[in-house]
């Protein structure tokens, strides 16, 4: 009886959820007025081809800024929790095969991450995805050459400064429209040039936001991975 209790509870909850969501989340194909507006006018209003990026970095840019703040907070929290730990000196450096493989893989990942961040307004991708790929590079560096090598290359302090740089750019772009009397985070409406849709320099502030997020997310996630790799006494 006690063993099957969680199963019964889940079954009951499942029934309730099917009942609750049956006519909204679980069935139906209509698009809805707001999303339809984005589809119809997104390119004209924001100047970018990738409409998901248009929503993320223009229509709902405040969400995205807060989301990068969530990553920042998580990185700061992990850092604070792991503060007393030290890097294992001896650890690191896998087999020779991995050591030779990874340096060949690295340029590829670097190019891919920058591509994701730069062309996020034209093709799938964006600053977040690019930043996460870049942070994986630092894991690979640690795996291949040990924590010491990665530490000397880009120290945690440098990463914190890069986080501040990315965050600072985000805040400046958010507040800049106030100078001309527009609402915070206004893009085209505040006079930023939207450019020719489909070209690299289009979408006003969108590519800049994307790059700032790229730097910030890469720094934050590699700080998280670095802190978690440290060892207790």
């Amino acid at each position: 009886m006690m063993r099957s209790f969680p199963l019964l509870l889940i079954a009951a909850l499942g029934l309730l959820l099917v009942f609750a969501l049956g006519d909204s989340l679980l069935t139906g194909t209509e698009i809805g007025p707001v999303a339809q507006h984005y589809l119809d006018n997104g390119v004209a209003e924001t100047g970018v081809y990738n409409l998901v990026t248009a929503v993320l970095l223009d229509y709902r840019a405040l969400d995205t800024l807060l989301e990068s703040a969530v990553i920042f907070a998580a990185a700061a929290a992990v850092w604070s929790l792991m503060q007393q730990r030290r890097l294992p000196d001896a650890e690191g450096g896998l087999s020779v095969a991995v050591r030779t493989l990874i340096p060949r893989l690295l340029p590829l990942l670097l190019v891919y991450s920058v591509h994701l961040a730069l062309f996020g307004h034209l093709t799938p991708g964006g600053g977040f995805q690019g930043g996460v790929v870049l942070s994986v590079v630092s894991v690979l560096l640690i795996a291949a050459f040990g924590t010491g090598y990665e530490y000397r290359l880009i120290s945690p302090n440098t990463k914190s400064r890069l986080e501040l740089l990315g965050g600072g750019i985000l805040v400046v772009i958010a507040l800049a429209p106030l100078v001309v009397g527009a609402a915070l985070l206004t893009n085209g409406g505040a006079g930023f040039p939207l450019g020719q849709p489909g070209s690299l320099f289009s979408g006003g502030t969108i590519p800049v936001l994307s790059l700032a997020i790229f730097v910030k997310v890469a720094a934050a996630f590699s700080l998280i991975l670095y802190s978690l790799l440290k060892k207790g006494s």
Binding site: T53, G126, Q129, V132, V133, I224, L225
Partner: protein, 79 residues
């Protein structure tokens, strides 16, 4: 196409069940990254390439790395 999608559904559910029921943490982590990759494939079927890239990079990449590090730091595979 239909068959492939149903296969992916089945794979996602099986990987999730396996990850929840697995007795070893390492098995569960591997199944979690299988779940992420399956979901990434499904997202591209559902016309969401942005979400697919994110799920692959985060779910199968960083999150798996974080799990592996944690398992190594909390006494290997005993839980």
């Amino acid at each position: 196409m239909t068959l492939a999608i149903i296969l992916l559904y089945g794979m996602a559910l099986a990987a999730a069940l396996g990850a929840v029921l697995a007795s070893q943490r390492l098995t569960a982590v591997v199944l979690l990254s299988v779940l992420s990759i399956t979901l990434a494939l499904l997202y591209s079927v559902f016309h969401a390439p942005d979400v697919a890239i994110t799920e692959a990079v985060i779910g199968a990449g960083v999150v798996t790395a974080v799990y592996l590090i944690t398992i190594a730091r909390t006494g290997g595979d005993t839980g």
